[in-house]
Symmetry: C2
Subunit: 238 residues, 2 copies
């Protein structure tokens, strides 16, 4: 008898989504959807897993961790071969406490393992959905596209951020006059009525300063009613 070894526990329908993968608007949330109609308790195939890890021969000589991967499949095949024993379906066993406890332990272990894996998959699906929400404009809904698009998107964003940062620094340097392409020019003008023009010039200088025009030096000559001022201000070549 060919057993499919699917674990259809009675409580499994509380967790199993078995969703529609190609659903276009719910990409990876099909596991969360709870089932509406209760299953009428068709099978109790827990006993089919009684021999679960029954003849697990261990083969401790396999060097784990490295390049020797071919041994693993051999090992597993040997396990499959060794596990080809009697099926032991749901007939009454000798009710020794040891066997009962062992069976319960084994069964609960497998069940917990399955549940953990199911939760893990669900969590991963949620992470996929979250990531897809970030790249949905440039990616398809399948996992590979999501991961690839995320990688290229992160790369693009990194590059864009870097050159934006550079451009920002350039602009800031331009404003602050810390550009190395700056030049000094002479701005020369004269005002009369220096008693009042001083204030106006100070105001003008203040304005110029507020315009981030940095003055390198000021040479002023007050002669009579005229104030001749020569400023070295920094400017930049465009």
């Amino acid at each position: 008898m060919q057993m499919d070894s699917y674990y259809f526990h009675d409580d499994a329908h509380l967790f199993a989504g078995c969703g529609v993968p190609g659903s276009p608007d719910l990409p990876f949330a099909d596991l969360i959807a709870s089932l509406s109609e209760p299953l009428p308790a068709v099978v109790e195939s827990q006993s089919a897993f009684r021999e679960y890890r029954g003849v697990g021969l261990e083969l401790p000589g396999t060097a784990r961790g490295g390049t020797g991967n071919g041994i693993n499949i051999h090992r597993r095949m040997m396990g499959v071969l060794g596990r080809m024993g009697p099926a032991a379906e749901e007939e009454e066993r000798p009710q020794h406490q040891q066997q009962q406890a062992a069976g319960a332990v084994e069964s609960s272990r497998g069940f917990r393992h399955m549940m953990r894996e199911r939760q893990r998959r669900e969590k991963l699906s949620q992470s996929y959905a979250d990531l897809y929400a970030m790249v949905s404009s440039r990616s398809k809904q399948d996992k590979n596209s999501i991961v690839q698009s995320a990688a290229v998107y992160i790369h693009e964003l990194k590059v864009a951020k870097e050159q934006l940062q550079r451009r920002n620094d350039e602009l800031k340097a331009k404003i602050l006059g810390h550009d190395e392409q700056q030049q000094c020019v002479k701005v020369q003008f004269e005002v009369d009525e220096p008693s009042s023009s001083v204030d106006s010039m100070i105001g003008a200088l203040t304005r110029l300063k507020s315009m981030n025009v940095k003055t390198r030096g000021i040479h002023s000559i007050l002669s009579g009613q005229r104030l001749t001022t020569e400023m070295n201000v920094e400017t930049t070549v465009s």
Copy 2:
């Protein structure tokens, strides 16, 4: 007899990685590692897949694509129930060409399916490795961490890029004088020798222009040897 239904083809060891998942420096490339020692041809379990998709009952009444996810597990369970038939292990069959061809087709189909799935997994692992190279500084190596870190990283990069873009626009507006916080101030000065000062003023204006100081208006009065100029220039309050 319980059959595990693992597909251990003879050529399978050419592709099967069976890697070490927790290898710390090769996170997802363990599939690529080829096997060194050839397996000495232990089993030929192709005939175990002779009844592969033998009793696939279809249940066409299930509305696919939507919220009806509970039907799927029922359907699959019905499939499992219905497939609990005679096993048909490796005994000699009547060698009809039709059955032979069918068996070859089925077997090769299952094998190709397995290979495709293996390639798909390998591709996905490569994508994971690529994505991990993008987020390796802030993520662990497991899949869930990679996907989650990628999501939050993309979010952070988006936010950073946006505010960098905003800051950039602000700086650009500050430079170009397109700030809405700008004010007009009067810069008033006078020069004599207007015949030569025109050029100097033009030069000064050019310099001011090259400094991105935008002039709103110029009012010049030439009286005698003096040029009185009043400019409205835009400036910004800090």
